[in-house]
Amino acid sequence: MNSLQKWLAPVCAGSVLFITGTSHAATITAKGSDTMVILAQKWAEVYMIEHSGQKIQVTGGGSGTGFAALQNQTTDLCNASRKIRAKEIEACIKAFGKRPTEYKVALDGLSVYVNEQNPVKQLTIEQLERIFTGKIRNWKEVGGNDLPITIHSRENSSGTYEFFKENVLKGKDFAASAQTMPGTAAVLQAVANDPKAIGYGGAAYGAGAKHLAIKKDDSSPAIEPGEETVVKGTYPIWRHLFIYVNPALDKGEVAAYLNWIRSDGGQKVVKEVGYFPLPDNLRQK
C-alpha cells in the first residue's frame, strides 16, 4: 500500500504538471481595452490560421481591467488604449517584482465629429478645449450658425475619454452638460441626428458625420485626419495603442506572437480593422 502511494504520487504530480504545462504553452490570453477588442480578436484569428496549434483567447473589460489581470497574472498580455499609470506599475512590481514591458502596437487618430449640416469645417485645439470645457457655448463664436452647442462625450471609463481629456482639454474637466454616450458608434449616431452636436471618437469610424480638420494653433494649417496625416504625426490628435506583458512571460510563443503583431503581417490587420499601422521605424523586421 505504502509503496503504491510512493509510486503513484510522482506520477500524479507529473501528469498534473504535464497537463497544465502544455495547456499554458498552447494558449495565450489577452485581456484589456474594449477599444482594442476587435483588433486583438482579428490578430488572434489571423495568427491562429497561420500557426495552427497556437490558441489565443481575447477578452475585453477595459484597459484598467487588463492591468488588474496583468498584476494578478491571470492574463499573459494586457491590451491598453492608454499608457500604464505609475500606480499600476507599482502594483505590478509589488506582484511580480518587475515593470511590465510596453509594446506599441498600432496608432489611432481621434476625429472630432460635427453634423453634416454644420458649416464649421475646422477648429483649433484651443477652440476645441473651450468648447468641450463649456467656455464656448454657441456655434457662432467659432464661425458657425447661431445655435447652442451640445457636447457628446464618452463614459469616463473609456480610454478615449481619458486621452481626449489629457491631450485636448489639457486635463481640465469636461463641461457638466456633456452627454455621456456608451460608445463611439453612439456618439456618431447622436451627432448625425443633431445639427447642434459635437463629438469625438476614432478617426476610422465615420459614416454619417463630418470629421473636422484640426489646427494645432492659429497659425498652423488645418489638417484632416487620415492614415497619412496620423502616421506622419501632422494631425494633432492621435495616440498609440499598447500591449503590456510580464517580462517573465515574454519568451517563446508569447514573444513570437508579439513580434508578429509588430511585423508587416500584424500591421496589415491593423489597417483592415480601421486603425493606423505603426511607422516603419517601430516595426519588427
Binding site: G61, G62, S63, G64, T65, F67, A68, Q71, R85, A86, K87, E88, I89, E90, A91, I93, K94, G97, K98, R99, T133, P148, T150, S153, E155, N156, S157, S158, Y161, E162, K165, E166, K170, G171, K172, D173, F174, A176, S177, A178, Q179, T180, P182, A190, D194
Partner: protein, 381 residues
Amino acid sequence: MGIHRGHRARPVEWLVEKFIFLVSLSAILMVLLIFLFVAREALPIFLGTIDSALVQDAIPVAQMDKLSPAQLREYLGLTDKQLKEMDRETLRSLMEVRVEGQAEITSEFRNDPDARINTTQWRHLLLPHQWTDYDKPEFIWQPVGQIHKYNFVPLIIGSLKTTLIGLLFAVPLAVAAAIYVSQLARPRLRETIKPAIELLSGIPSVVVGFFALLVMASVLQSIFGYETRLNAFVAGIALGFAVIPIVFSISEDALTSVPQSYTHAALALGASRWQTAWQVVLPAAIPGVFAAVVLGFGRAIGETMIVLMVCSASVMSWSIFDSARSITTTIAAEMAEAVSGGHHYRILFMLGALLFAVTFAANMSADVIIHRLKHRLEGKR
C-alpha cells in the same frame, strides 16, 4: 396507540424544518457578508487613510539607505510581508516609479493648488469646493483625470431625481390599475389585465433602456420640446416601466386581501362600487400599498441599466430636463477602469455602502410605518 405530539412523531418534518431554518439563516448571513465586504473596501475612505493628492512627496532613490525599514514600508505602501520578501532591486524600482510618476506632472498642475488637495476627505465628498477654472464653488464628479473630483452630491441628486420621477409616474398608474383590477373589473377582464401588467416585469431592464434610448427619448422630446434629448425625465419614465409591475402586483394583493365584509357592509349602506373602493377598501389596504411603494423605490434606486443607457452626465441640477448620473450607474460604469485598491476604487465602494445604507433605511422606516398604520387601522394604540 398514544397521541404523539411535536417532532417525535415526524422526524422527517423536523429535519426539513431545520434545513429551511439553516437556508434562511444563510441568506441573512450572505447579506451581512456582502455588506462587510463592501464596508471593508470602503474603510480607508471612512478613516481618511488614503491620499488622492496629485502632488506628493517623492524621496530621491539615492536616499533609499537613509530610510528605516518602517519609513520605507510606509512610503511605498507595503505590508510587512511584502517588504520582507522584496529584494533591494525591486524596492529600488518601486522608488524609481514613484519619482517618475511625480516627474511626469506638468508644471501647470504642479503649481495648481488643487493638486495638493486630498479629494477623498469628507468635506470634498460632500461640500462644494472652489476648483481652479471654475467661477464659483461647485459640486463636481470628475473622477478620471489629473485631479480627481469625487463629490457625491451630484450623484445623490441624480439617483433621487430619476427615482422620484419614476415613482411619480408609476405609483398613480399602478395603484389606480390595482384598484380597478381588484375592485371594479369584471372577473374575465381581470384575468386578462392582471397577467398582462405583471408580464411587464419580465422585460429585462436592458431592453427597457434600449427602447427608451432609441424611441422614447425622441418621442418625449418632440412632445415636450426640451433642449437635451437624453435627460432625467426620460430615464425616470423608463424606470417607471420597471417599477409599475412591482407596485401593481403588491398593492393588488393588498387590496384583494381586505375582508369581503368591509365591501359588503359599504355596499349595503348604499355606497357605489367606486365609493366603496376609494373610501373603504383603499384606506384599509394602505399599509400594503405603502409597502408596494417602498419596494418600488428600492427597485428604482437600485436599477442600473436603464439609467446607464439613457443618461449619465453628472450634472448638478434639480431640473428634470437636465441629465443625471445615478449612484448605481457610476459604480457600474467606472468599476472596470478603477485601479484595484486605489482611491477611485475605494470611493466606488463607499458609494456602494451609501446605497446599501439608503435602501436599508428606506425598508426599515417603511416597516415601522406599516406597523404603525396597521395598529391604527385595527384600532390599537
